[in-house]
Each structure stands twice: as C-alpha cells, then as structure tokens.
Symmetry: C2
Subunit: 496 residues, 2 copies
C-alpha cells in the first residue's frame, strides 16, 4: 500500500554526487547500446503534484544524448488531441526503434479523471485501467521497453512545497486551485492512486515506486532503476531475445538494498505491551472473536486468515491465541509446507482453492500461497517468469475471493535479525524447544537479504485495496498477538 | 460473427466412418503421450441447448482410456458449491498432470447469467469475462492445455430438436421451460453468446467454433481439432517448451479446409445488379452519402472505412464510387502497402493510429492493419506468435476507437477464383489495365488456400459486436458498389 511506504529515506550530498556521476555515465552508455540494438524505450513519470517530476526528468536529460529522445507533457489536451480518440496522442508518441520517449504524466490520465472527483465512475475507471494494460502489453509484446516511475510524497510535504512555491513570485503561478484541491483531498486521492497502481502494475510494465521527499534520494533511485531496466533489456536483446515481456533471464544488476521500496522499514519494532495489560486485552479480544465467529457463522460469511513471517516470528503461538476461544467446528488451521505429490501434479494455486472455507467458516493458513514469491523465488524452486507472474495471479485470486464475499486478513509477522538470533539460540538451548529449530532455519537466516527483497516486493505488489497486508511488529510477542486479534475482529466487523 | 457462420455443412456416412475410426486411434495415442509427458488437459464444451454437447462428449469418451479422464457437468450448483466462491468448483476440478478434465458447460456460466435475462448487468458481465480470462491465462501459464468448443445451431434447428425430444416420452423431460425461452429469445441470446466468444477468445485459450447442425460433421470436426490441439501441445512439450501459451512452433497438423469455420462459404456470389438499376441506385446512394458526410461533419463524428479483399476484387473502383460525391476536404483515402523505413521502426499499429481521422472526418483505408494477419502471416513477414497475438491487439484497438465514438466499417470484397482469373487475364490483355497486374498477384493466387485460411480466421476472430465485418459479394461489381455505399450510409446513420 502506498500509505505504508517509508518516506523518511535520505541521501547525503557526497553520496549523491558520487552516485549520480557514475550513473550518468552508465545511462549514456546504455542509451547508445539501446540505439544500436534498436530498442524503443518509453519512460513514464506519474505522481503527486509537486512531487518533482519535472526536476527529475530534467536531471535525466542531462545524461542523455539530446538527439535520441523526445519529452512529452501529457497534461494539457490541445485542439488536435481533443478532436481525436484518447489513445491517439499516446500512440503517435510511442518511440521508434532506438529512441527514448519520456512522458511527464502519462496515459493513466483518463483513469485518474474517472477515478476521483466529479467525474468519478468505477466502471469507467475499470475500463480505463484495462485500456492502460492493453496499450502497455501491445507495446511490450512489440519489443518496447516501458519503465514507469511513481513519485510519492506525503500530504504534509506537498503542502510545504505548494507554500514555498507560492511564496516565490517566480513560481507562484505554478500552484493551481486544482493542486490545492488534491492536497485537501489527499487521502481520497491516495486511495485512487493506490487502485491505479494495483490495476496497472503488470509483469509487462511494472511500477517503480520512488520515495520522493528527499530529492537526492529520489534522483539516485530513479537513475539506478533506469540503469537496471535498460541493462536487462540490452542483455536480453544481445542474447537475441526479442520480447521484453517475460524477462526469462536473471536480473543482471542488483539494486542496493537502501534504494528498494520499503514497507518493513516503517514498522516500529520497539512496540511493546506489558504482561498485565496483555492478559487483560487478550481476554477482551478472545471474547470478541468468539462473538464475531458466531455472528459470521449466522450470516454465512467466510473468512481466511493468512500468516506469513520470518522464521521464529511467532506464527504458531499467535495462531494458538487467536483460536483459543473459537468453536473448533467453525475453523480450520491449515499448515502449509512443501507440496505433496498430488499437489505437485496440479497448478500451484490448486491446493489453496481446495482449502477455501465454506460460507460461515474460517480457514487459518500457517504459511500460504505467498510461498511462490518467497521461498520458491529465493530457493529457485520455480522460474523467474513463474514468480514474476505470480503477483498478478495472486491478486486476481484474492480479488475474486473478496468479490465473492470472503473476508481476507493477511499478516506479515516482522522481527529484526537480532531478535531472530535470540530466539534461535533460545530454541537451541531449551530442550523442549529444540524441535522448533532446524538447519534450514539457519540457512534461511543466511539469506536474509534475498528474503528481505522478496518480502518487500511481495508487500508492495500484493498489498491491494481489496486485500491489504498488516505488518505485525512482533519483536514483542504480546504486542503482536493483540494486534492480530484486533485486526481479525476489525475485518470481521467490516465484512458484516 | 456467429450469425455469419455457414451451418449447411454435412458429411457422408462413409466419410464419417472412415475419419472417426482414424481419429479415435489417434486420440488414444495422444492421450497416452499427454499422460507420459504430464500435460494437464482441459476440454470445454459450450453451446446452445440441444446443440449436442452430451452426445459429442460421449463419443469422445469412447476414444479415451477411462482411467485418464473426469467429466464434469457445470450446470447444476450443489450445496457444497453454493456455499463457496464461484471459482472454487472450477479450480478444484482442474486436471492434474497427464489427466483430462472434460466440462459439459463451463466456467463461462457466470458471464452468461449476467449477460442476458433478468439478471443482465453489463458491468458484471465485463467482470465475469475478465475472470474467465484470468482463470484460463493462469492455467495456460502453468502448463495446462485448454481446448474450448462452442457448438452452434440455428434457431430453426433448435426448435426442431426440442420438438422431436418432446415427442419422445423418454426424452420429453429433458426439454425445460428455460430451453424454450432460449429458443424464443434466440437472437438476444445469440448477441450475448457472440459477446462472450469475443471477450473470452484469447491467444491462450481460443474458441473452436463447431457448426453442429450435422452431427457427423460436428463430430469429425471436434475430433480433428482435438487431435490438432493435442499434437501441438505434445510437440511443444517434447521439445522441452513448457508454456503452451504463445505456441512458438508452426502448427504440425493442417485442418482440412472443409472443416474450417466458414464465413465466406455463406456468401452468395451469384448476386447481381443490372446496369440500369445500378445507375439509379448509385445516384440515390451517392446523394445520401453526401448528405450524411455533412451531417457527420456537423456532429463531429469521425468515420473509418476499411477495405480488404482478394486481389482484383475491385477495391479501387469501389472506393472511387464511394467518394465520388464526397467533399474532398472531409475525407482521406489512405493506401496501405509495405511499411516504409520510418513505419518499420515503430509498432505495426503506429502508422494506423497516426491515420485516425479528426472528429467529423472520414478516413478510407485501401488495405489496413489486417495485413498483419493476412499477408504478414502467409508470407512469414512476422512470427506466428506475432500474428496470433494480433487478433486481440486489433480487437482492442477497434474497441477503443468505437468506444471513443469513431464509426467503423470493415469490408471484405469477396470474389471466387474463377472470377479472379477472368479479371487477371483481362488485365493482362487490355493495354490500359496491364499496370494493375503484377507477378505478385499471380504468386498470391497460387497461395489461395493459405490466404483463404487466414481470411476465414480473421473474419471469425475480429468480427466483433462493436466492429463487425461486411462480406461484400463482388463477382458483380455493380452489386458490390451499391452494397458498400449502403453499408456506409447505414453505419453513419447508426452513429448519429
């Protein structure tokens, strides 16, 4: 979810200088390669008003050979455009082989116009998003590389920027009434933008989220992602692979961890609940759960509760507390491990569809279909194309489930590496806990960076408006247990 | 379009016997191969009530090893299904590796329920179709082979079958009130089915249309298409290609021409107009065109008229008569030949988007974007994956155009090979016509069968409810000219 992003990321002046110098040279090289290989490149910037689209595009241009690109501002509709179908102006500006087309605002305009405000219309919004998908798929299938950036700032930061622009007589004219309207209705706009990102983030044209409060951080992030995208495309084309769609090769460049979209970084792991308070609250919430389970059964509303999290984050204990007061006839706990032979003979989602609860029942999953984009990705149990496709497949499934009336709660139980180590060692030391710790746990711990990347991407790409993730700060088990119970009750209430 | 299909196809008893014997053996072999290779196979039957789904499924089963398949009847919803999300019952019945799942009625049920009748809802219909697409794409991406058959019969034939079933005490119970309702509202149902076929005919899961009035013809066609689909899948898998989606290899089996869906066969090429009548009508329609051109300009409605057809079918002469009375400031004739260097550097649709008329203007295309699925397909100027993808790309473009208010008329000028030969020879013989005939025309004529296959597939896959084809019977030029003028005027009237 957009609102879960950590916007506090910054970069020092020195680091910025060093990185942009190197990145600029690399971008220039890659532009020449793309030209030689005849790759058409479409670079798109969307984002909040005053998020810095213009500034960042300008910086990018400095690195490019001016004979090789065109910049298009998609906001104002001219006479010629008004007289033609919406898609005309985007199609005629698609890049030729070897050229860059850079868009300041994009073909998502139509969707945004019917996404919020006076002309809001959910059906038109749906249609417009599907048209965005078609446009991007057609171009990608035809060999175009599409790189999309979304620049995100907070309401407060946007307000600050508007005010500072208004204070300067040279820039005051740039702030319009519509801009202030966006700031005033920031939350509603955020919901709309979130939905747009969900529906138009496909494996053929991914959104790159840029935390744009710190301009230096944002600039380096954009340039790095650009280098990554171009490098991948050039590598594929050099290998004679025309389609940039499925990216069958391993990404050749690893984005520094610090530049990744981070949702986990925002979690405050110091959150705690003292034991007496915990006991009191536990009693309260377990009673509420019991009541709500009955209410859900009577109204025939099904619920699925999904648990994912780091090893030793406390999934088992958490599930035990959640179910302590439930009627066992009304729920199932479904432990998910490596698929058996029958499951392996089917589509990876088949076993989860089989476990969909009946109306009025609750299924609690101890690990889930997200294994596809976590362990299967990191351990190479499926191909890169498989797990890249899985985000959409999973989102589609969850949308179908919620549309059919199923309540969905998704937990990521988050602990930091120190706390994990403490728990691992405790498990090793305490006799009756040793069964809980295996060599595999230690091996997974070694791969924390790879898993972290997978988790962040999962939280971002599958954190949807219809099935959001709840990151549960679990360094303190008491805090974590209460938060999950509370979240389950709230989801039940929302569904009834 | 469904309603353009030639339902008069039959097969003799002897031919039927000979073919089914051979096909049954082949299907058995292919089932064993699919089993060894671990391909999951999903075979789906949709169609009109009493079209013979049950009968044809039964016949198919005779050829299969009974240990390797399951049959599912999707019509009646049981208690267990009613309590779960719609997609549950289809997902849990998807085939395991190496197994066949055969569906009598399919996962299109939901779409059909909100497509016509009391519960009709265009938005829910759209959503349901998108869910069908997701389901099929997810399975295909996961390696499942999906073969979909739609059994088509006419209203008259359906009525005859209902009556004959009712006359027999053993089968009378099979004809329900709902069945008769379908027959009563046959045309409305046909529109709904047409829309369903359009929206769910994707490159990952194509619809196979079966003319099902003659049971022998239908049986042989179904078995032949099944053999083709299985052979392709087995060939791919034997080459180590997992995905059955894009079919990067040339189809290994050619369906006999007689079994292809035919729209052209239905055209009556003996249609004629005597010269005096032609002169009279031409005057009338040219006047109407002039009036309508003005009306369209005033209302700012754009129009695109597309001409495709056999060489020497008379496109040029036809366009000249169409435009004779038009104001030249209001229309453009756009001749389309091989792309130039600039066009080649772009997506193949780019040059056509560039030619989209302004509001109130008319663009007449002498050949069109359909070159992708005609000459480029037959001559190998693009890959098989390219032209197979193009049907959807073209449909998407045309839907976007019509949605934006553009009127679209699509003509296929049809002449038979004898008439073509006569015209070729006349061109060769008459001095002032020789420029019209080239060696290429003769070469194309040699490939009539390949072109015919491409034309039929094009007419079927891109003949949509929003942009239907008009097949113009052009053996007689007079008749053809009047029909195109009339069609253009009618489209203009419908748009205004």
């Amino acid at each position: 979810m957009l609102k879960d992003l950590d916007l506090g990321k910054t970069l020092s002046k020195e680091e910025f200088k060093k990185q942009t110098d190197a990145l600029s040279i690399r971008i220039g090289e890659l532009q020449r390669k793309a030209q030689d290989l005849g790759i058409p490149v479409l670079i798109a910037f969307e984002g909040w008003e005053a998020a810095g689209k213009g500034t960042h595009i300008n910086r990018l241009l400095q690195a490019l050979d001016p004979r090789g690109y065109n910049v298009h501002v998609a906001e104002a509709e001219d006479e010629d455009e008004r007289l033609r179908p919406y898609w005309w102006r985007f199609w005629v500006r698609t890049p030729a082989s070897g050229r860059f087309s850079i868009f300041d605002r994009t073909w998502c305009l139509q969707a945004l116009q019917c996404g919020y405000g006076e002309d809001a219309d959910p059906d038109l919004f749906d249609r417009a998003c599907h048209e965005v998908n078609s446009f991007e798929r057609q171009l990608t299938d035809g060999g175009t590389l599409i790189l999309k950036f979304f620049l995100h700032i907070s309401r407060k930061e946007q307000k600050k920027r508007f005010e500072s622009m208004e204070a300067n007589p040279n820039t005051a004219w740039k702030v319009s009434k519509a801009d202030w309207q966006q700031n005033k209705h920031y939350d509603e706009w955020q919901d709309t933008l979130q939905k747009l990102l969900e529906r138009t983030d496909t494996e053929t044209a991914r959104w790159n989220l840029v935390e744009a409060e710190d301009r230096r951080f944002a600039a380096v992030k954009i340039m790095t992602l650009l280098v990554e995208g171009l490098t991948d495309a050039v590598t594929l084309r050099e290998k004679g692979i025309d389609s940039l769609a499925a990216k069958p090769v391993k990404s050749t460049l690893v984005i520094p961890e610090t530049l990744r979209v981070s949702i986990l970084d925002k979690a405050d792991l110091s959150l705690k609940l003292p034991e007496p308070e915990y006991e009191k609250q536990q009693e309260h919430w377990q009673q509420r759960i019991q009541d709500m389970e009955n209410a859900m059964f009577k109204k025939r509303v099904p619920l699925m509760v999904l648990y994912e999290g780091w090893d030793a984050a406390g999934k088992g204990g958490n599930i035990r507390r959640l179910t302590a007061s439930m009627d066992p006839r009304g729920y199932d706990v479904i432990p998910v491990s490596a698929p058996n032979d029958i499951e392996k003979a089917h589509h990876y989602l088949w076993r989860f569809w089989n476990a969909v609860p009946k109306a009025g029942h609750i299924s609690i999953f101890d690990r889930t279909w997200y294994g596809r984009v976590l362990v299967e990705r990191v351990e190479g149990f499926c191909t890169e194309a498989d797990w890249k496709r899985a985000y959409r497949e999973i989102n589609e499934m969850e949308e179908q489930l919620t549309h059919a009336g199923v309540g969905l709660v998704k937990f990521w139980l988050h602990i930091d590496p120190d706390e994990q180590l403490r728990r691992f060692e405790e498990r090793k030391a305490v006799e009756w806990k040793t069964w809980k710790i295996t060599d595999e746990d230690w091996r997974n711990r070694e791969k924390r960076d790879l898993y972290n990347e997978a988790v962040e991407e999962m939280l971002f790409r599958t954190g949807t408006s219809y099935a959001p993730w709840t990151v549960v700060e679990s360094n303190d088990k008491y805090y974590a247990r209460i938060k999950t119970m509370k979240t389950v009750v709230e989801t039940m209430e929302a569904r009834l």
